[in-house]
Each structure stands twice: as C-alpha cells, then as structure tokens.
C-alpha cells in the first residue's frame, strides 16, 4: 500500500478525508517533548482507562468520583494535544464520601445512558470511590437488572492487572474482555458458541492516533499470506467490533497485555507480542527487541505465520515483498552507504538493523541512564546497553560508547569519529546543529513512521537523505537557554524536578523492574 493511501487510512475517511494530515503530525510533535512519563510524573490510572473508553466510538466513560477526576483528566498525558471532551462524572462530594456513592453511581449510569445513548459505559473508579468501598459490581448488576439501561457496562478499578503497565489502559481492556465479552459465557462452552473467523488475526496498537497507519502494510502482507484480518483496534472501533474479537485465531499486540492472555484462557484466542519479553527471558536473543526493518519484519511475519500454520504461503509472500523492498531500498539509499550516525541508547528508537538496512554505521552510542536509575536495576541498565552495543557490532558497526556524557563530551566524540548525522530527539537537536552537526528527529520517525513492514526502511532512507541535505542551523534561538549538563534537553528547573521525582519514587514497589522485563512501558 502506498504511503499516501496509508495516511488517508490513518486519519479516517469519515471525518477528516485526509485533510488533517498536514496538521496532525506537527500538532503531535509540538507536544511530544513534554518531559512527563516517568521523568517528572506518572499518569494515573484514569488517564489510561480514558484512552480505552475514548478509542471505542460508541462508548462513553463515566468517572465515579469528584469533578477534578473528570475535568483534569480531559487533558491526558498520553494525548496532550487533543483533550478528551466527554468525561461525565458522578460529582462525588463529601456526603458520598461518608455515606457511600452507590446510589449516585446507579443514577449516573442511567443518566449517562439517557444522555449519550452509548453502546458501552466504562465506569472508571477513582481514589475516593475506591477508598470508601463502593460495591461497583453489585451497583452495575442491579442497575442493569432494572432494565432502564440498554447497553453494556463495565468498570475499571486498576486492580485487575497487577503492575502491568500502563495500569489504567491495561485494566480497562481487561475489564472489557472479562465483564463484557465473557459475560455469561462459562469457560469450556465458548468455543462451540463462537462463529470463528478461521485463519484470522486481530491487530492491536496503542490508540494514540489511529491504528491504520501503523498496521496497514502489515495487514496487506498478512492478507497475501492467506491470513485474514478479523479486527484492527483501535481504528474507529465499535462495541460490535469488540464482540467480534474472539472470532480470531490470534491477537497480535505491541507488547504483552493481560487482556490478550485472558482471551486465550476464555476463548482460546492465542496471542503474539511484537516485543517478545517472555521469549527474551528464555533465550536472551537481542533480536527479539528488534522487530523493525527488513530482517525484523521478516521474522515477525514468519513467526505469525508459524503460529497459524501458514509457513508455506508466508515464505513466498515474504520473499517477494522482501526482494521488492530491497530493490527499492537499493535505489533510495544511494548516498547513505557508510555514512556515520550517532544514536541514543535504548530500545525505543531506531534500531541497529534498520540502520544496517539503509547502509549506515553507528559511530557513537550515547547512553543516558539518569531517568532509568530509579526504575531499573543496574543489571538491567547494563543489559540494555549490552543489547545496543551487541546489535551494533552484529550489524557491522564499532561504535564509541558514551555513558552519561556532558554535551561537550558528546560533541567531541561526534566530531572525532567524523559522524555525519545525530539521531536525536527534537528537544536536543539544536545543541548539535549549533556545532554544525546535522540531526534527524528519531522521536518523530518512531511516532509517525516506524512499524512492522518492509516500507519502513525505505521511508527511513528517504528521510535520512533529506536530513543530510538540510541547511546548517548555526543560530537556533533554543541555544540561547541554559540547560542541565546531563539531562541536556532540560532547563535546570525541569532537571531538578526530574531529579526530585526520581528520588521520591526511588524504591517504589513495582517500579524497580528486573532485567527480564526491563522494557515494560511505564
């Protein structure tokens, strides 16, 4: 599928007709440098649960709590560029805190139904309603039994999925499967009752902005292999779509999700994770964290095919697609071969295999551990570094490794190694530009382009070539400011906030993860 077509799919034909493309990416990017998640703050469970409720077109959230829990969460740290405009709440006040909020919840559900006419109400509980011990389950059952509310109702408390992160997001999805899809269906009888969509998969991505772009090529490749797409979530997903999720044979997610495991338990729908933490624990194969690019995508497609017994069909399709991609890539990557790049260590950026696809070499790896030290063990931090360096060497690079360097040390190493381009976040690009070093915004690429498929390295090559031709920017206004020496994308006040946050959170149960699940999103 051509990139332009995919863009239309991303925005959706119903509302935007593709006209919003030019606004959407800069809008998202403008808010992308906020140093929040795990740096100076952690979003609460309501924000994650609202992401789910908001992603289902015919669902409405009902926040069982005070007005602040509804108003403040309209501005959501997962999607700060686009508030959640509909967040009705039960307006819990001090009377309910003393006498209980169950009556108000029941009335709230009824009113929400009458006002919004949704097919699903997602009740999201809050600190206040959790602490006073309202019996959400009974209220919902009794409200349903009265017959005034002709839609599904689920409730998310944040307690269903343990420490799986993001808690609110995982918990709301789990609640939907547990309370809605499995409601009234006992274990053991589901398989007979579900009209299966044979050889089909569900494609699930985090609903930050339309799933279409991220999975369009993947869907196309799988279809060619004879694997049907049962559902893509969340892309204009409705309650009806959710009810059809159990028809698939396999659910494909970005990372492990509790609700996908529940789908396997209750409906026998297997699950596959693109970032395979569980298998990494057994094999310590760093490639499992490298799902993008030609080889990464080949592996992912083949593993999915194997799980569905479609290896035969897959081999031919993958080989053809791969050959086509390599041929196109060989043309577009001319001029990139053996160019040197400096990149940031970690697992979420542009991987070494993708750099290899476009013919570039990693000359410097800059590894910053400050933000990780309060949340990861030192073993986990070292292991992550080893993975980066190991993959770089495997793909033919021999980078200089800098751990927690100052910006001056970075510049020195970058210049010494004759590096052509720095793959940096937008927030710190000006520091390199000022020194005459060109940059490529890796955050923007991962947000808007990176996905499973053979088109990604081609887009990367095109964009990298553009970056190498960009005019020198010697006078960025941003370089007038003072920055912290180590957290060099932050001005001193934010750096202090980040340091304080790290200290305050230090040792929190569930925060300090061991190396085996080092990459769990927080």
């Amino acid at each position: 599928m051509m990139y332009e077509q995919e863009q239309k799919m991303e925005i959706g034909s119903k509302k935007g007709n593709g006209k919003n493309v030019g606004f959407l990416r800069p809008l998202i990017s403008a808010y992308s440098t906020l140093p929040l998640h795990g740096i100076t703050a952690i979003p609460g469970k309501i924000s994650g649960a609202l992401m789910v409720a908001n992603s289902i077109e015919d669902a409405v959230p009902l926040i069982h709590g005070p007005i602040g829990c509804a108003f403040q969460r309209k501005i959501n740290p997962f999607r700060p560029y686009l508030p959640f405009y509909e967040t009705p709440c039960t307006d819990m006040n001090d009377l309910e805190v003393i006498y209980g909020g169950e009556d108000k919840l029941s009335l709230g559900i009824k009113e929400t139904y009458e006002k919004y006419h949704p097919n699903l109400i997602v009740v999201i509980t809050t600190c206040a309603s959790d602490l006073i011990g309202d019996d959400f389950k009974s209220v919902i059952e009794e409200t349903k039994a009265k017959g005034d509310v002709d839609c599904d109702i689920v409730y998310a408390t944040g307690d269903f999925v343990g420490k799986t992160k993001p808690v609110g997001y995982q918990d709301a999805l789990y609640a939907i499967v547990d309370q809605m899809l499995c409601n009234g269906i006992g274990i053991g009888q589901e398989k007979e009752e579900i009209d299966k969509n044979e050889n089909s998969v569900n494609l699930i991505t985090f609903p930050i902005h339309g799933a279409g772009l991220k999975v369009a090529e993947m869907a196309s490749v799988l279809s060619e292999m004879g694997i049907k797409i049962n559902k893509i979530c969340f892309n204009h997903t409705t309650v009806k779509d959710l009810y059809e999720l159990p028809k698939a044979d396999l659910t494909i997610t970005d990372y492990p999700m509790a609700w996908a495991r529940l789908m396997k338990e209750r409906f026998g729908v297997d699950h596959y994770e693109i970032l395979a933490f569980d298998r990494y624990k057994e094999t310590r194969d760093p490639e499992l964290f490298s799902p993008y690019g030609i080889e990464g995508s080949t592996r992912i497609f083949m593993e999915i095919a194997q799980q569905l017994g479609k290896e035969g069909e897959a081999e031919e399709v993958i080989a053809r697609r791969k050959e086509n991609a390599i041929e196109r890539l060989s043309k577009v990557k001319k001029g990139l071969e053996d160019k040197k790049v400096a990149c940031m260590g970690g697992i979420h950026g542009i991987g070494m295999s993708m750099l290899s696809d476009v013919g570039m070499k990693a000359s410097v790896i800059i590894y910053k551990t400050q933000a990780l030290e309060s949340r990861l063990t030192s073993d986990a931090i070292n292991e992550m570094l080893d993975i980066n360096v190991g993959l770089a060497r495997k793909y033919g690079s021999d980078p200089e490794v800098l751990v927690n360097p100052t910006i001056e040390e970075e510049i020195k190493a970058i210049k010494k190694t004759g590096t052509d381009l720095v793959l940096s976040m937008g927030a710190s690009a000006h520091k390199y530009n000022k020194e005459g070093i060109r940059t490529f915004d890796s955050m923007r690429f991962t947000l808007h382009h990176q996905r499973i498929g053979f088109g990604t390295p081609i887009e990367l090559a095109i964009l990298l070539k553009e970056a190498l031709k960009k005019p020198q920017r010697r006078n960025p206004l941003l370089s007038m400011l003072e920055y912290d020496s180590y957290r060099n994308n932050l001005i001193p006040e934010w750096a202090v906030l980040a340091d304080m946050f790290a200290t305050i959170r230090e040792g929190a149960t569930g925060d300090m993860v061991m190396s085996e699940n080092v990459y769990t999103t927080t």
Binding site: Y31, L34, L36, T40, A41, I42, P43, G44, K45, S47, G65, P66, I67, G68, C69, A70, F71, Q72, R73, I75, P77, P80, Y81, P83, Y85, E86, T87, P88, C89, T90, D91, M92, N93, D94, E96, V97, L107, G108, E111, T112, K115, Y116, T126, C127, A128, L131, I132, E493, W494, V496, L497, D499, M500, F501, T503, I504, R505, A508, T509, G510
Partner: protein
Amino acid sequence: MTWLCPRMCTPQHRYRKMSDTEVKTREGLTYDPTQDCKLVGAARALAGIKDSITIVHARPGCHCGVLLLRALGSNQNDIRIVGSGFRAQDMVYGAEGRLAASIKLSYNNFKPSLIAVLNCSAPAIMGDDVEGVVQAMKREIPAEIFSLSTGGYEGPAWIGYEEALSELTRYMVPGETESDKVNLIGFKQDDIKSSADLLEIERMLNSQGITLNAVLTNSSFGELKKAPKASLNIVLGGDGLESAKIMHEKFDMPYVITPYPFGLNNSIDFLESVTKSLSKEVNEEFIAIEKNRIKERIERIFLFLQGIYDMSVAVVGDAGRAFDLAKFLSDELCLNVKVLAITSRNHISLDKTKTNDGYFETLLIEPDRFEMNEEIKTKGVEMIFGSSMEKKLAWELGLPLFRIFYPVIDEVSISDAPYAGFTGTTHLTEKIINSVINNYIEV
C-alpha cells in the same frame, strides 16, 4: 433571559421567573464538569507566589494532572509543582514519611520561602496527619510551610482558590499604610495574556498616581506578607473576595470590587472605582488620550467592525472575567451574546445575575458540558469565546474559537499585547475580527 443553574436550586425549582427571566437548573446529577476541583484552584493561587513550592500530596494522577496543566497552560520555565510519591501501598500504611521527604527535598533543591502542601482525596480520606508532618518539618526547615485540605470531593476550584488566598492572609504583617498603594486580588498568572494584562493594569494605575504593592498572586512571599502596607485592595471581578474581607477585618484595609478591565468602559469603570475608593480625582486627561487612541485604531478597521455588528456569540468562562467580557462584547462591539456560561462561580456571581442589564440572553451557571453544548448548538451562535475545552464544540459547529479563559493549553502568549485595559481593547477587537475573516470556506 434564561438561567440554567446547577447547585443552588433544588430540582423542583428548576424553572422559576426572575422578573421577565426564565430560570432553569442543571438537569440531573451526572456532571461533565466545566471546572476543576479544589486542588487546582488552590494550586493556581499558590503558583503566583514566585518563591513558593506546591507539593501535591496525592496519588500520581493528581500530581501529573496539575503538572501537565501548568506545563501546557503557563510559563514552562516556572513550574514549581512537586509530588509526594504517594503509592498504592501507602493507601494502607499512610504516606506521611514520603511527604516529609518531599518537603525536605523541595527545600534543599529550591530554597523556597513557602512550601504549600495540598492534601488530596486519597490521603485526606485515609487520614494522613499532614498537619503533624508540617509542624514537624517546620522545626527542621527555615521556610514557612502550610497545608490545605483539597480533596476533590470538598468542592470546586474556586473554593480552593478562595481558601488558598485566605490562608495567605495569616502570614501578613501589619505595617504603616502607604497612600496610593494598592494590592491586586484575583489575578491569576496562568490565565492567557496574564503578564501582558498585568503590565497594562499597572500602567493604568500609574497614570492615576497609584502604584502596585502586592498582587495576589504574582508576588514573592515577602511582598505578600507586606500586603497590609497598601491603602486599598482591588478585587478583580470578585475573585479572592474572601481574602479581602479578612484583610479588612484584620488590618482595617478597605477593598473595592472592580470589573476585570475588558474593553473601554470596564477600564474606565476600573479606574473610577479605584480612584474613588482612594478619594482621588480620576485623571480624565489620561482617559481622554486612551479613548482617542482607541478611536484612531478603530477607524482603521471600521468597515469590518460594522460588518460583524450584531454577530451572535457564546461566552464560556469563569465568573471573575466572563461577565465583564460579555458586557464588553455586547455593549461596545455590539455583538449578540446569546449564551453566557459561567463555568466557575465566585462570591459575587449570583449578585451579577440579578443586576443583568440585558447584555446576555441565556445564562448558564456551572453547567454540565453536554447540556451547555446542546444549548449553544440551538442558539445560532457564530463565534465562541472560551477555553481550549470548547475546541471540539467550535469545530463541530464550524465556528472560530477565541481562547481567553482558563485553561488554554493550545495557544501560547509571550508577547506584551494584553487583552485587558485600554490597550487590550484594540487588541481584542483586532483578534476578534481576524478570527472571523481569517477563515477559508468553500462556496
């Protein structure tokens, strides 16, 4: 005039007549709020104390929410919001130790003059002895520390704002009153254009030989402590009235409630009220010069101003400023204010509804967002004056949205062009006309 009001009327009083006015209450208990909770009101008041730190003693979501609001809607180099690291297990054992650590860290890192602890829903319900922690830490730290109970269930933002300002009066010390010095109360430094507005208000006061003493809040803690040196408190739009009353009782300081100076007449009214309260003659010459300046500017775009005459608009904002903006729009730009939605009350908002002189058609007080949107949709409105929260409604109706009320998280203001005062009159007019004529449409 129709009046939709949520809390002050019982359901049986949902419809009542006020002279020729129909009054309606908010329907139902479920509330998609147009205002935030007590925590945010208090945090907004405290944010304006330049050398203070606010600790949000709460689960992570509240801390993250306040931090996000501040980062998106205010000066990004002046955050001063810290969490206490409250975790799930603390719901059982309490988080007093974490709060103490957070106070210490805040002092060590920022050396603030004041640390304010906002005790939110979870620790408030659990019964954390926050006051005990504060008292203990006062012995260790050479900064003032106080706590406020700001559980979300305790009330809306304006209550938190009033309580925070009232708390500050405890630290004020009596001093020799200086004539023609005033304090400004009800100023919020995270309102859009706030710093430009403050410069303009100060310029206007200076033109009358009046100087600013302290701004509640946009001053250092030391300046606030010396607030009683002023000879008058100016209460902008009625916000912070409670603190003015306390200062009146405690320090015998007079106060005057003025409009927020949106537009020419509100600006004149502002100056006349202040000078009258100080028993000064108003400097008519200054006003005449400003009027002439406005006239000269208006002349340059008079055709467009004639063109938008009688345009129907909705105004959605807080009581301290929305009444006054609506009055300017109606009385001076001659727009038709079809809906005035007061998202957040204050102590004088009910009085203002009683003295309506016809500058709005329908009044909603603290409306449910769903009901408010429905009301606006039926009124044939052609432009909305609101916050970032009206963006979707404006998009759905295909209308320009003028962002002027809190919170604004999708527009920045770093220039010195105010919305308030005489200078603000031309700037507002310019932006309103541009909001209309900037649009592209296919015909």
